[in-house]
Symmetry: C2
Subunit: 191 residues, 2 copies
Amino acid sequence: MPTASPDRRVRRTRELLRRALVELILETGYDRITVQHIIDRADVGRSTFYAHYTDKDDLLLGNLEELAAAFEEHMERHFASRTEPNPVLAAFEHAERQRNLYKALAGRRGAEVIRAGLRRRIEEVMARRMPEFLPRRDGAVPVEVTMEFLLSSLLGLLVWWLDDDLPYTAEEMADMYMRLIAPGVQAVYGI
Amino acid sequence: MPTASPDRRVRRTRELLRRALVELILETGYDRITVQHIIDRADVGRSTFYAHYTDKDDLLLGNLEELAAAFEEHMERHFASRTEPNPVLAAFEHAERQRNLYKALAGRRGAEVIRAGLRRRIEEVMARRMPEFLPRRDGAVPVEVTMEFLLSSLLGLLVWWLDDDLPYTAEEMADMYMRLIAPGVQAVYGI
């Protein structure tokens, strides 16, 4: 039997560390975890850990980067494959599929730095697409206020849903969010 | 000249420590502050600090308690004095009046523990008053989803407003928030 290629070994080690991190966050919360806990759980040597990551924050941020890349890929596929793409539904669907990773990174047991990072990612996506949807209009709410409103309520529902172990489907969540926000945004911007 | 009474001395010391804490949070962020920084800024002896608080978290939480008590008093006065009380306006007005304290406690430079505490407080107030406003209704969004929506968007706007140094008045913020949320909630619950 051939031994695993170096690339595959790297991927395996990283996957073991990722799983250990996610499990430990969900069990005890990010703040209480040490590198020792992670290597014990992953059954990986200390020097192997440090060959891949400088510390637990680095492991966490590395996983956030991977999740963000996967999220962007998912969004692109969603936009390419649907005649009426709904970015809100796409976001909930991605979280549903990767629920443990999302919950560990963005839920109450995760780290504040990650919620801030996730927020920035979604904010960037929204900032690119929002101005075309929200026309300038006398008496309308300023776009930056509406952006903050849409973003904080979306993240609030997303984190609540993950922490509550997905009591509704992604479709239901996206539908409820749209029903709550759309009439106000339509009334304010006359669309 | 008579010397200050013990009670007044206690109040003065606590006020000095509170001011030092708020200034330091706004300058450098809560996480970077030590008790030494606080007593240097307040010009108070180390033993005096520890006669009042066990550590910097205790000082922070003590101030949150005082702010929460002042907030509840303010809400009661607001409800007693207006024929059409608006709790959202009352909340923004209170934050406007105590902007530095609010910004230090709830803003981006504050501590996650405080945002979580503030959130719980507002959640309690909302949970008491919401069910009377949101009738059970077939096809309506579940009340806990609507609560999360209203709460996260209100806190999002409040923190954004504080961190941006109050670019609008409390009345404008309350008005924009109501314009964004009311049509959706009305449509969903048929009110």
